[in-house]
Symmetry: C2
Amino acid sequence: MAAPATSKGEATRAAIFGAALELFRTHGYEATTMRAIAERAGVSLGSSYHYFPSKEHLILALYHHLHVLHREACAPVLARERSLAARLRGVLRAIVMTCEPFHEVSGSPFSTVADPRSPLNPFGAESAAMRREVIGLYAEVVRGSDAKLPAEVAAELPRLLWLYQMGVLYFWIMDASPGRLQTLELIDETADLIVRLVGLANLPLLRQSRRRALALVRAIAGNAPDN
Amino acid sequence: MAAPATSKGEATRAAIFGAALELFRTHGYEATTMRAIAERAGVSLGSSYHYFPSKEHLILALYHHLHVLHREACAPVLARERSLAARLRGVLRAIVMTCEPFHEVSGSPFSTVADPRSPLNPFGAESAAMRREVIGLYAEVVRGSDAKLPAEVAAELPRLLWLYQMGVLYFWIMDASPGRLQTLELIDETADLIVRLVGLANLPLLRQSRRRALALVRAIAGNAPDN
DNA sequence: GCCGAGAATTGAACGTGTTCAAGTCCCAGG
DNA sequence: CCTGGGACTTGAACACGTTCAATTCTCGGC
């Protein structure tokens, strides 16, 4: 995508990304023009396109930046908590907090989420690396918990929790409540509900449903451009 | 949005929408320019904007067009089937079939789905009328079924099924499998799973979860710009 | 038959993201 | 010190969605 070969190129790339970060945060995604980013970074319009093939690729870089912050924010919770519900709650609260400075801005870029051809599409090839990282984070959430899970459930759960996170973030984007309290309530309630449902899947009554659900998840995930 | 006052205006509006429909289907959303639509409709560029405030509003009109087709496609199934699972399956198969001609095209327009300010946002004010209609369709799905549902579940289920439909459509957009078979499998399996889960919600073991889940849904729906 | 008000229509002009051919800079190798 | 090539940089140019002041059309009321 953009691999500067010299240290000067590295600096230019960082300047462009920094300018974009600042302008996105203060003015929003759409109101920020590529010309304004270039000007603030002290480079020409064409130079920006040398490092980022499109405006959307700047958002991709922002995603990665936020993911790094999110991992750091998660670390204490994952080290401390052992119950699956608490770990889930902590990780989801952390992502909402991490993204908060970009809330007003998140609508437009997150919107391209549904376009299969967009680099921002979470299921696409260009976001595969990030997707693996996030799923890995949820694997850690599951692995470090004291929940008693059948192996086949534990194997598919991280991917499902990644989907769950996307759902929560989508809700968060729409959330206009003061202090984003609705999202926090949603997290508390659904994290709990998920853990209960996963626990119930052990009941004989639900065995068949569990088997079929797992088969479905595996069939679908098998066709995805994941690893 | 666009209310022609004369019959001539009505005809112009129809010509523009028809041209857009044809071009979207054959060339895709992004590849279709407003200039091309205007030319094919035999009007000037400015005229298009007199009837449709933006290119996205043409998609809004397309949504409505598809919804009408969907209702017609659903009618036989809803008249025939009584089991909730069969009704759900039928309605979801119908929408996938109805939208099929626009599959390659659906990515880009559906993508703006996440932008709170976009007229295409399913939770927004500009799509409130359509949202109510679709939720109404699912109310009919529930009402005409022989499923034994507690009143409070039956009250919230249509809204949740509308969400479910959006999830299925999102999957369908991404579905590259031949004949869209994966989506059909997803529909069959999840429709069944949903009905089982709803049925299980009557168990004493799940009473509390049900109560809390319903409270959450009500709290969230109360803040939405629905009616 | 004429008028006028409102609907319908026009196309030039604006700002945007993006492209690209041309230019400049840097430095390793001679 | 020169030179060549590759990284880097530039800004004009393009096509697009959108806006708007100006113009034309339509038709009911006199």
